[in-house]
């Protein structure tokens, strides 16, 4: 296996394992652990095998094209630094898997656990091995997602849910900021490839966009590494199962932030901005975390705040702008990972064995858990920075740097030194609490469970890690030095400074500080022990508000603010929606026309015929009246609407547009009648006599807006119609209608030929409208007050009842006898008229639409005068089929032209010799028009049927026979 293929295997293994684990049965705790452990071990082996390739500043690369257009390669890159991280991730990952095998209870859904854990491991490896910054952000967000799932693993508890969500929101947000920062960086450099970016440090630092890029990237790093003021998510993430905490808070997740800081150290550091921002965040986190850790009563809480504090230390070291401090930072990353992982595992064992993590209840565990106690004591000593432990070495380096740092403000240097010592004291105190408080003293007798040593292999990971702490602490030169050197070279390259990891430097000032902090810590612990033990959970003096603000904000957003805001931003009210629409239209139109110098053309009042003017006045009055009456007097409004329509109709006639007039007339008739039939089912609206001032002013506002909008519309129409005609495509239609379209009625030729495709679409619309109305009315249940029969029918029924000789339901047909006979006689004539109008359409006013409407109106009249049952007993129109056939006819005509090699809807005209009649012009468009005809009849009939069947349905079961016409026999 070449180094490059090793890299991709390394990334793929955990994800593969994640998928496998997800599909294992939920009770197979051992099998899952085996799979996960084997894969983690395999990954670890690969990492170890790659050491030689990166040992002397070497870099292993693998590039696969992914989306080059975005500057995105799938690019893996391992240098010494990435190698070190990969080692931590896989190594501690393996130990955590082993530990979790014993820790997790058989009742827990273990496949999910191992699946998430391995996926998280893969994502983390992706972060450290990415050779492309966008890809890094990609994996970065994946770690946020999988950590969310891991923290929320025990989602039946509220703490886990809230902790997981908070972690996701904080770190996910940081990830988005990071993405922004990376995009800026890419914009500066011109590439997202890490190699290119790392080589462009000077250009980046000098660029005007440096600061925004830095801020965004730091936001990403600080949120992930729980730096002040984003530290609050980390303690809540302790709701996760302990193996998860051990993994997330030692070697992975939170280390991603400092990883990024170190990764980009060569290009971003060295400026004042970097120094101030990073040092400030690191320093405040360092002190704050340690301070808060002292006051925790929960073992894991203590470790969580200690983690925050140590991350602050690493951040601080990276912020100091000196290579040697960076070395210390990198060194501390490794040290912290080892001792913190082991401490979390030890805390887990204590929790597992005693059933509690509360330090107020735990004491004297040394007796029950001797081995675990020893291990935890050693690890805590490393955390406190006791000599001969690995933590001591990096702490010494920190102290040295704190003393030597050069800042523009000498005061700051001093502050740093004092802060370092104070931090040392706090660390000693909380480490002592862990050691002395938990393991020493008289054994507790009120524990939920009787503690025993855990299984051999559950302890093994801790043993291994503690051994590492010791070996590194005692003989750093033999153990860690070459590896640290590899890692440091990966970051600093040629700028790698001289440094020494010796345990003994002589009696130096840093050593004095260390010893001072240690004894100070012990003394203070002795004094404060009782005070600390008897407190409630949480620190005095400092009350952290970050988390509170976060929670309050969420609650506020999702409860308090949500409803009013949603109602306001996304109103349900139609009236408001329409108002906004009209106002926006008005504003937009006004904005465009504002300031442009053109006015309405002068109106020649004398040219207006008084007759037409009168018609228009009447039409306008009708329209306004219809709007005025619409709310409470629907019938009146409808009649007035008909008046307005008629005025339009007359106007068309006036300006010699008989086709339009005819169509308009037919449409007016059909719609008015259908609406009238529908009106019967609407509930009555009661006018409220009292109208408030507010209501009246609202109506006035609406009136004004309506007038302005209508006036504007009229003005625009007038403007367009009075300007000279442009050279338009209409000329073509006029010229070719007869010569090529075969018809002298240009309107009809346009409809069925020039723009037949539009007509095809519009008849489809008509058909769908009818289908939809039918479907809608089929489910319509009228208001109770509308169900009662109309007054006339009730009177007739009463009349029938009063006369014993008259069967009930006899009167109505008699009343309707004369009109129904006339209509029946008229029906053939109306049908003939329809066909006539249809046939002549190509040359004279008429056509399929008008013809269809004529026939439809004839049918409506039959229904109205004869009654639904009477008519349907004779002719049951399958209206849906008419619609379908109409569409089919139109479409088939269009497709027919394919046979002749012409596009869809190409028409053909020729004279056809018909016996008796002679040569007649025939256009294939006529067939298309047949489709229109059929569809219009079908659609109108379907609307009619919907209404007619409504009245039959509603009266059924009322004990009153519907107005059936049993006249047939009598007449």
């Amino acid at each position: 296996m070449t180094a490059a293929t090793s890299l991709i295997t390394l990334i793929a293994l955990p994800f593969l394992g994640s998928v496998i684990a997800a599909f294992l049965p939920s009770n197979a705790r051992n099998r899952e652990a085996w799979v996960a452990g084997a894969l983690a071990l395999g990954a670890l082996a690969i990492v170890i095998s790659l050491h030689s390739a990166v040992a002397d500043g070497g870099v292993v690369r693998l590039q696969l094209p992914w989306v080059p257009l975005l500057g995105l390669e799938f690019s893996l890159r391992m240098d010494g630094f990435a190698w070190m991280f990969a080692l931590l991730i896989t190594g501690i990952g393996f130990l955590v898997v082993l530990y979790a095998r014993y820790y997790m209870s058989p009742e827990d859904p273990v496949p999910r656990f191992f699946s998430f854990l391995l996926a998280f491991m893969g994502a983390m490896l992706g972060v450290v091995l990415s050779g492309n910054l966008i890809q890094l952000a990609f994996f970065w967000e994946l770690t946020s997602l999988f950590s969310f799932l891991l923290i929320g693993y025990w989602h039946h508890t509220g703490a886990a849910r809230d902790g997981a969500r908070m972690a996701l929101i904080i770190t996910g947000t940081g990830g988005l900021a990071l993405l922004g920062g990376i995009l800026v960086l890419g914009h500066i450099v011109g590439s997202y490839e890490l190699d290119v970016v790392l080589a462009a440090g000077d250009a980046i630092r000098a660029h005007p966009l440096y600061l925004p890029a830095l801020l965004l990237i730091l936001l990403g790093a600080f949120t992930k590494s729980a730096q002040f003021p984003f530290q609050f998510w980390l303690p809540d993430a302790m709701a996760a199962p302990t193996p998860v905490s051990a993994y997330l808070h030692s070697a992975t997740m939170v280390k991603a932030g400092v990883f990024l800081l170190a990764r980009l150290w060569p290009v971003l550091s060295g400026t004042q901005e970097w120094f101030w921002l990073v040092t400030a965040a690191g320093l405040s986190t360092l002190v704050l975390g340690a301070y808060l850790a002292m006051f925790q009563q929960d073992l894991k809480g203590l470790l969580a705040y200690s983690t925050i504090s140590h991350l602050g230390l690493i951040t601080l070291l990276l912020g100091m702008n000196t290579p040697i401090a960076a070395v210390a930072g990198i060194f501390h990353i490794m040290n912290h990972a080892t001792f913190k992982a082991s401490l979390f595992m030890a805390a887990g064992i204590i929790d597992h064995e005693t059933g509690t993590r509360d330090m107020r209840r735990l004491r004297g565990l040394r007796k029950a858990l001797p081995i675990t106690a020893t291990l935890a004591i050693v690890a805590s000593a490393a955390m406190a920075g006791v000599p001969l432990m690995n933590g001591f070495l990096s702490k010494e380096m920190f102290y040295t740097e704190a003393l030597h740092t050069t800042t523009p403000f000498p005061l700051l240097g001093e502050l740093l030194t004092y802060a370092a010592v104070v931090w040392g004291i706090f660390s000693v105190i909380y480490s002592l609490r862990f050691i002395h408080g938990v393991f020493f003293g008289p054994p507790a007798d009120d524990l939920p469970r009787e503690p025993h040593e855990p299984p051999r292999w559950m302890r093994f990971p801790i043993e291994l890690l503690v051994l590492a702490c010791l070996l590194v602490g005692v003989i750093p030169g033999r153990t860690i030095e070459p590896y640290l050197h590899t890692a440091v070279q990966g970051v600093l390259g040629e700028a790698t400074p001289e440094y020494s990891l010796a345990v003994w430097h002589g009696f130096t000032l840093p050593l004095m500080m260390s010893l001072g902090a240690m004894f100070g810590g012990i003394a203070l612990y002795a004094t404060l022990r009782r005070f600390l033990l008897n407190r409630v959970d949480g620190p005095p003096l400092v009350r952290l508000v970050g988390r509170r603000i976060f929670e309050r904000t969420l609650v506020f957003l999702s409860w308090r603010l949500a409803r009013p805001l949603e109602a306001r931003l996304f109103t349900w009210r139609l009236q408001r929606q329409l108002l906004i629409m009209v106002v926006v239209t008005l504003l937009v139109a006004t904005a465009v026309l504002w300031g442009t110098d053109f006015s309405l053309p002068p109106i020649d009042w004398s040219a207006i015929s008084p007759g037409l003017a009168l018609v228009w006045l009447a039409g306008m009055a009708c329209a306004i009246g219809a709007a005025y009456m619409a709310k409470f007097h629907r019938l009146a409004a409808l009649i007035l609407l008909g008046g307005a329509g008629l005025a339009t109709c007359v106007t068309f006639v006036w300006f010699s547009a008989p086709d339009l007039a005819l169509t308009q007339l037919m449409v007016e008739i059909a719609t008015t009648v259908l609406l009238l039939l529908g009106l019967r089912w609407l509930p009555r609206r009661i006018k409220d006599a009292r109208s408030t001032v507010r209501e009246r002013s609202r109506r006035l506002r609406d009136l004004v807006i309506a007038c302005v909008a209508g006036g504007g519309l009229g003005g625009l129409a007038f403007l367009v119609m009075t300007r000279p005609l442009p050279d338009s495509i209409a000329r073509f239609f006029v010229e070719r209608a007869y010569s090529e379209g075969g018809g002298t009625n240009i309107v009809n030729v346009i409809l069925v030929d020039f723009r037949g495709f539009d007509t095809f679409g519009e008849i489809t619309v008509l058909g769908i409208v009818a289908l939809t109305v039918y479907a809608l009315l089929r489910r319509f249940r009228p208001a109770p007050e509308s169900i009662q029969r109309p007054k006339q029918q009730r009177l007739a029924a009463a009349h029938d009842d009063a006369h014993a000789a008259r069967p009930r339901g006899d009167s109505i047909p008699q009343h309707m006898l004369v009109p129904s006979v006339i209509m029946r006689l008229m029906f053939p004539a109306a049908g003939a008229l329809a066909i006539y109008l249809f046939l002549r359409g190509h040359n004279m006013p008429g056509g399929g639409f008008v013809g269809g409407l004529t026939l439809a109106i004839a049918i409506i009249l039959q229904y109205m005068t004869g009654g639904t049952r009477w008519f349907e007993a004779r002719w049951r129109i399958n209206a849906v089929r008419w619609i379908a056939l109409g569409l089919l006819c139109a479409a088939a005509t269009g497709l027919g032209s394919w046979l002749f090699g012409h596009p869809f809807l190409t028409s053909h005209t020729r004279y056809i010799e018909i016996p008796l009649l002679g040569a007649l012009p025939f256009a294939s468009a006529l067939l298309f028009d047949v489709g229109v005809f059929l569809l219009v009849v079908g659609a109108t009939a379907l609307l009619l049927l919907a209404l007619a069947h409504q009245s039959i349905r509603s009266h059924r079961g009322q004990g009153v026979p519907a107005p059936t016409v049993s006249r047939k026999e009598k007449s």
């Binding site: 799932l149 989602h155 996910g172 993405l179 949603e566 465009v592 367009v720 338009s728």
Partner: protein, 513 residues
């Protein structure tokens, strides 16, 4: 003579008519026919995309009337892309619908196909009035589909939907009238020519027409402040219908691209829109995602997601440059697919939660927590724009394409901050739906494989779009380049063989009086 450009219209049209004729035939026959027709539509979409990869335009002159006098259909990369996307989303939602939803009312199958026909016409037509007709077809068909299944909520939301959109249609007609009155043409390419040399005195009028038309598209595309109709309509529609509707808002965006990027692009007409679109899109994105964050209902959450993703898409369009348009098209596909899948999933979740339905309140656990949970998680990840799904690439490409714009600060800030809003919204929804549960369901309602397959299919599409992101982006790049080249479009549409013939005839007629 190739009839390729009209096939996407003919196929669903005929299928719709036949399904209408078969109203009383057996359910399985109608389902099979519809599925076959929609599957063919997918194949056709792939063919169209394949054809347009290398070729320029295919112009189809309906009725054999020469352009610009008759109606033309113009097949280019953008229209092929849209047709394919429509077909894919339609196929998935149909698969879901045939699990029983289609039988909850009449006419589902014909309406479904006619809706597809309307969409195809909208994407292919090169005629502005024909675009109006297409809008009518899809509006009415969608209204019918929206009401499918019945219920008080649906009827009410449907009424609002249809009224608002009919007002929009009137506005459309008015705008087309204005534009025709000034330019004397309806053909888009001809319009492009004439808009280029419109007299200064006519400019305000033409601009008014163009702006009114823009408002219509803004209504369709749910641009602020004309998005009100959307949450009600989408959240009450049946799951597969809402899933299909995901493409409907995109028609508005498509039309904006077609008319203002291509037809009026670069002319003085488009200036007011150039200054209007970006701010409106930024506000739309913000408000949409605020909605996602605060709403107490899953389906409404997804509806707000639709608004938000329209905002993102229109930001890309509103930057008015080729690179961002390409990024926008990629995001368009992603946004449509993810929202579709979310609507389907929301339907399933709502079914399994008893009386709580899709309200984000603690309730009984869903019957299939693992399956639905994984799907929800994956879709939420995609919707927020987190890796590893296509939302991440979409967002990255839009952000990267904004680097040369003056508005980069705004664009970046809004896109990134609103991502946080969605993160908050989805994590809240997910933890309430899947984690904050009280007990197992009393009568478990389980989703069938047929319900799950379409959701997984849509997820698969996003995976494909991520892994083969390069190929997709190459295509959208090419589509954007084609849209940026107005002259080629005009040349292709105005100088078809038939049109040249007609021009020659015109000349000879002028010479021989």
């Amino acid at each position: 003579m190739t009839h390729l450009p009209i096939l996407p219209v003919i196929l669903p049209g005929l299928a719709g008519i036949i399904l209408l004729l078969l109203t009383y035939a057996s359910v399985s026959l109608r389902r099979a026919l519809n599925l076959i027709a929609t599957a063919l539509m997918v194949v056709l979409g792939i063919v169209l995309v394949g054809v347009t990869v290398d070729n320029g335009y295919q112009v189809y002159e309906l009725g054999n009337w020469p352009s610009p006098f008759g109606i033309v259909l113009v097949l280019d990369r953008l229209s092929a892309f849209m047709v394919l996307l429509t077909a894919l989303v339609a196929f998935c939602s149909l698969l879901f619908a045939v699990q029983g939803f289609d039988e909850r009312g009449k006419n589902f199958h014909p309406l479904f196909q006619l809706q597809l026909m309307g969409l195809s016409i909208a994407f292919l037509t090169g005629d502005i009035f024909n675009l109006f007709v297409a809008f009518e077809v899809l509006l009415i068909a969608s209204y019918g589909l929206l009401l499918h299944g019945g219920g008080r909520q649906r009827v009410r939301a449907g009424l609002h939907y249809v009224i608002i959109n009919l007002v929009g249609s009137s506005l459309f007609l008015l705008a087309v009238g204005l534009i025709y009155g000034v330019t004397g043409t309806l053909n888009m390419a001809d319009l492009a020519v004439r808009a280029g040399d419109v007299a200064p005195t006519d400019l305000p009028l033409l601009r008014t027409g163009a702006l009114l038309l823009f408002l219509v598209f803004a209504v369709k595309g749910a641009l602020v402040p004309l998005y009100f109709w959307l949450p009600g309509a989408y959240s009450t529609a049946g799951a597969p219908v809402a899933a299909l509707f995901a493409i409907m808002t995109k028609v508005g965006a498509y039309a904006i691209v077609r008319i203002y990027f291509l037809v009026f692009g670069g002319t003085a007409v488009v200036a007011p829109i150039e200054s209007l679109l970006l701010p409106a899109a930024l506000i739309t994105l913000t408000l949409g995602m605020v909605g996602v964050m605060i709403t107490p209902n899953l389906k409404r959450l997804v509806s707000y997601m639709v608004i938000g993703s329209m905002g993102t898409l229109l930001i890309a369009v509103g930057l008015f440059n080729e690179a961002s348009l390409s990024a926008g098209l990629y995001y368009l596909a992603h946004g449509t697919v993810v929202v579709s899948a979310l609507f389907l999933l929301a339907g399933l979740i709502s079914q399994q939660r008893g009386r709580a339905r899709d309200h984000l309140t603690p309730a009984q656990a869903v019957a299939q927590p693992g399956l639905l949970g994984v799907l929800f998680f994956a879709l939420a990840v995609a919707a927020i724009g987190l890796p590893p799904l296509s939302g991440f690439l979409g967002k990255v490409s839009i952000l990267a394409s904004a680097t040369d714009s003056e508005a980069i600060g705004w664009v970046w800030a809004v896109v990134l901050v609103t991502s946080v809003f969605t993160l908050v919204g989805f994590s809240r929804a997910g933890s309430v739906l899947f984690w904050k549960t009280s007990g197992a369901p009393s009568e478990p309602v389980k989703a069938t494989t047929g319900h799950i397959v379409p959701i997984v299919g849509l997820l698969g599409l996003m995976v494909v779009m991520t892994i083969w992101g390069q190929a997709v982006l190459e295509f959208t790049d090419a589509a954007a380049a084609q849209l940026a080249d107005r002259d080629a479009y005009i040349e292709a549409v105005m100088n078809t063989p038939r049109a040249l013939e007609a021009q020659a005839l015109e000349l000879t007629m002028e010479e021989t009086p």
